[in-house]
Symmetry: D2
């Protein structure tokens, strides 16, 4: 039976690019609600998928990214401590903004029989938006938990969420308000964890 998955974008992050300081400050607010959301997916046996930029480190893997983020301290370390993938989570490294471009994500989602995605992470206006538009074009129904994403300015976050809501037809509601538009618990009852 088709099911819901959680897609977590670029939270393992060195914040080493233009505008990164402002983005890091905003991103510091997301780890608590996002971790709570991830725990709910884990409890329901629903897939949790990390799609993370490789930061042009073409030689390493996901564990290397986590290690270097922890070593950096600051927001990088706080996000990595709370949100690094654990056993049973899936991950794909992405070379571009969208998690669908030049990655195995389309194949993975098909194998997992996913038809709805909760998309969280950073930045709201960049990799989250690019990923959501690609998901919308492939007919996934979307939920963007608004307290689990961040942008480098409030105006960019507002603009991105506006497009996500009215163009991509995404549910845009915070985890903290108790939102659960796709019924995580109910979905979990029928979803057996893929191997």
């Amino acid at each position: 039976m088709p099911k819901l998955a959680l897609l977590i974008v670029d939270v393992i992050n060195h914040f080493a690019f233009d505008g990164a300081r402002a983005l890091a400050a905003a991103a510091d607010a997301i780890h608590a609600p996002l971790r709570a959301l991830r725990d709910r997916f884990d409890a329901a046996g629903l897939p949790v998928i990390y799609a993370n930029d490789n930061w042009t480190d073409w030689h390493g893997g996901f564990p290397d990214l986590v290690a270097s983020s922890l070593a950096l301290g600051g927001t990088s370390a706080r996000l990595a401590e709370r949100l690094a993938p654990e056993d049973g989570h899936f991950y794909v490294l992405k070379p571009k903004h969208s998690a669908f471009m030049a990655t195995a994500l389309p194949v993975l989602l098909q194998q997992l029989d996913v038809d709805r995605l909760a998309i969280a992470g950073i930045a709201a206006d960049s990799c989250v938006l690019a990923t959501a538009i690609d998901a919308h074009m492939r007919d996934y129904r979307l939920w963007v938990p608004s307290d689990c994403t961040a942008a480098r300015t409030p105006a960019l976050k507002r603009a991105a969420l506006h497009v996500l809501r009215y163009t991509c037809r995404a549910e845009v509601r915070p985890v903290r308000g108790g939102a659960d538009p796709f019924g995580i618990r109910g979905a979990g009852a029928t979803g057996s964890a893929p191997t």
Copy 2:
């Protein structure tokens, strides 16, 4: 020598979808500046490429879309009269929002040796934005002439242009103000029309 192209999105349009009436009203304002812009590209010998939804008519071609748009009257006809492709223009039919998805556009742009794109047409928040994000991920430099695009609400157009400017690093300036960020005339001097 790499050159600039004009990409015109979904102006051959039946306006037969949710929210189409509001979008058509807004789109009525774009045909004059967009035609002026297209004439400048033609005069400079630079490529003009139409990327248009096939509106799920899988049996026909571009001329059929133009004919049926003319027959519909209203904004559909006004856009088709002023903006239908002419000899020497390129066109691709697209089945989804982005002009890069499931079309020959990536191959065409490479064969034309294009490195900068002016992206115009409708809707600003939907197919234009999806196309621009895909172009940005492929390292094209972008200009979105702000009076040559439209959305079904002013808030959606504002949000889309905000993301285009600050996330996709696009030039967002009107044709009517005389904007020419990539130097159409200069570019044309070196660009011979591809066959």
Copy 3:
């Protein structure tokens, strides 16, 4: 209910490339069995899809390709006379060898709910093989009717059919022998022609 489609590759063909003379001579033998096969798909109400090279004519459409092929005479004209698409057939122009690359075919097959493909046309070792490998990677079951495809040498046709049979797990059997591995008639009974 998932159904079978017929995919016809590059039969509208100017034979204007290296090795084209030998390929044309071999291709002259395919139009009779391929037309018989197409008639059976039509009679069963099953989709017939043309995927044809645009021969780098980026300005025209499918009808232009048919017209220029008829005008050329020889094998080009004989194939176009017998096999040009008719009302109700689908077509996509492809810029590269595989019908899946940079075309709307993946979207069309999904919308038609196709899960099995009969792939015919030319050349067996080039565009037919590239298309079949792409289809195999996307989990389509395949039938390559061996008298409906051709190559510029017998050795190339033999090599291609060997790989198709043993690597892509395609049924490789001639139309003339009465082969119908996927049950065209039965499939047609449940398949209503998509619009």
Copy 4:
């Protein structure tokens, strides 16, 4: 300056699929010449890229695949011992046959400015052929070192090499014979190793 890269396909391999025993027996012959070839690329400072099936282990990375292959013993272990990637080598995990499908390879090759590929590994008729056809469609010039690839039957290897040579226009020559169609040493002189 555009340069040559070595692409090594599926040599980290559990041989746990239909026909794997015959393939493993044939693959035992390739590790010596392939290692010699890899050493020459390393010595010349040219990129070595591994593209390896993830064997539907969506949770692990490349080091996990190497470890489990070593633990299996037999051909799996012999290939992993001699050919596991080392520092400075690139790798991508692929979910399907072609190394270009749903992977970062296209982006990596562009960033490395590669225009010629030596493609080695297994199986000649399956993942090597699918990858070579995709590379050919993207205009890469190809060399398939014939003693660095294997198939589960001699007839399949012969068929694949025939198509590679005459359809994909690949150089098909053994490393042991001293073949160097693209001039590894000369190419290396101008190529600085990308980071």
